[in-house]
């Protein structure tokens, strides 16, 4: 059974990017430290891999997913990963206004979060689904569609930028810490959403 898993690097003060993020500068000012744990890389997620054991473990889990759900902004800031995030799995790109041109490579545009999750699950063939991007995370949370959160907590306060948890309605979402791994310059915290609570 596929789990819908948010995967995000986040500062201790809750930002996924510093201020002034944009195309080609997806992490904003000062935000590059958020991805330092991934090690050096270039084009596309496959060009990275942490050299430490815990980092490699969580990274490999992320790239063992069978589909990716992301937001239009994240997708475009990343140059659309040239149409292939990893292993040619489907990339569902959430957007209110799909462009006329089809999405590149293995990406496709979706306007509704529930439909994105449905399509991703169907495509993932029992593997987990990776959710990436703050707005997409918020949409999934609001719709009650997220099963787990894998947060890479980076020891820095960015002060300003784009928040991971923002614009959510009031009310509890109870979580359970499933795993905490300490890597060099990062804590990997995996939480499960408790629906029975």
């Amino acid at each position: 059974m596929s789990r819908i898993v948010l995967d995000m690097s986040v500062s201790v003060d809750g930002f996924v990017a510093g201020p002034d993020d944009g195309p080609g500068a997806g992490l904003g000012i000062g935000g590059e430290q958020l991805h330092a744990w991934l090690g050096p890389g270039g084009a596309g997620p496959r060009s990275y891999r942490p050299t430490d054991e815990t980092g490699a473990l969580v990274f490999d889990e992320m790239l063992a997913t069978g589909a990716v759900i992301t937001g239009r902004r994240t997708f475009e800031f990343a140059g659309g990963w040239d149409g292939d995030h990893h292993d040619a799995v489907p990339v569902l790109v959430l957007t209110r206004n799909p462009p006329d041109a089809p999405a590149p490579g293995h990406a496709r545009y979706v306007t509704d979060v529930a439909s994105a999750v449905e399509q991703a699950k169907a495509a993932a063939g029992g593997r987990d689904v990776m959710v990436h991007g703050a707005v997409t995370a918020q949409e999934c949370l609001k719709a009650g569609l997220l099963d787990e959160l894998e947060l890479h907590l980076v020891p820095v306060l960015l002060g300003q930028g784009r928040r991971l948890f923002d614009g959510l309605p009031p009310g509890y979402v109870e979580l359970e810490l499933l795993r905490a791994l300490d890597g060099p310059g990062v804590q990997h915290l995996r939480y499960r959403v408790r629906r029975e609570a």
Binding site: V12, G161, D182, Q187
Partner: protein
């Protein structure tokens, strides 16, 4: 040398209180959920350990809002240590117990460090924490991260400048296996890296 340590309980989404906090509802709507872990404050184990450390500090800096909501702690937060309340507007009349007022964050930190001697300084309250962070006066953070999303409320990290502050994790303590869900918490201690 005293370490000035911001000690706060937060939800995973970064709130210290739920929405609509005020005198009638100090923790905001639903915010008391954050304090369940304190049921373990007198027990052996991680939560007891970090709570004992907070009460071993030798001075307290509090924001005005926290001070008022806590009923001034009756003038004594713990062991009669000096309580320095950061406020824009110093009240008339003599302050209760070991309370004194400061209007400037750097001055509050200097007073607290002097009073604490070799001991540490506890900082309580989001407003005081932010003011001291802006002034570069926070040495350590002790965050009690509760596995819940509150969605809205009062944020711990807000109104800070876009100036990255590098931290180093000093310690991570997690509730023991078998702890009942409502009382689980992760205690993260960071040290502020000085440039």
């Amino acid at each position: 040398m005293a370490s000035v340590r911001l000690d706060m309980t937060i939800s995973l989404d970064g709130f210290v209180a739920g929405p609509d906090d005020g005198p009638d509802q100090p923790m905001g709507e639903g915010g008391f959920r954050l304090f369940n872990w304190l049921d373990r404050r007198d027990d052996p184990g991680p939560s007891g350990e970090v709570f004992a450390e907070s009460l071993a500090t030798r001075a307290l800096i509090s924001g005005r809002r926290t001070y008022e909501l806590a009923g001034h702690w009756g003038g004594d937060h713990h062991d009669g240590v000096p309580i320095i309340v950061l406020t824009h507007d110093v009240p008339d009349g003599p302050p209760p117990g070991s309370v004194r007022f400061a209007t400037d964050p750097a001055d509050a930190a200097a007073q607290a460090r002097a009073a604490a001697g070799d001991g540490d300084v506890l900082v309580a309250g989001a407003g005081a924490g932010q003011a001291l962070l802006r002034a570069g006066e926070i040495d350590e953070l002790e965050l009690h991260v509760v596995p819940v999303l509150l969605g809205q409320g009062r944020r711990l990290f807000d109104h800070l400048p876009a100036r990255p502050v590098r931290l180093d994790l000093v310690r991570r303590l997690t509730s023991p296996p078998g702890e009942d869900h409502a009382r689980r918490v992760t205690h993260l201690r960071y040290r502020v890296r000085r440039a």
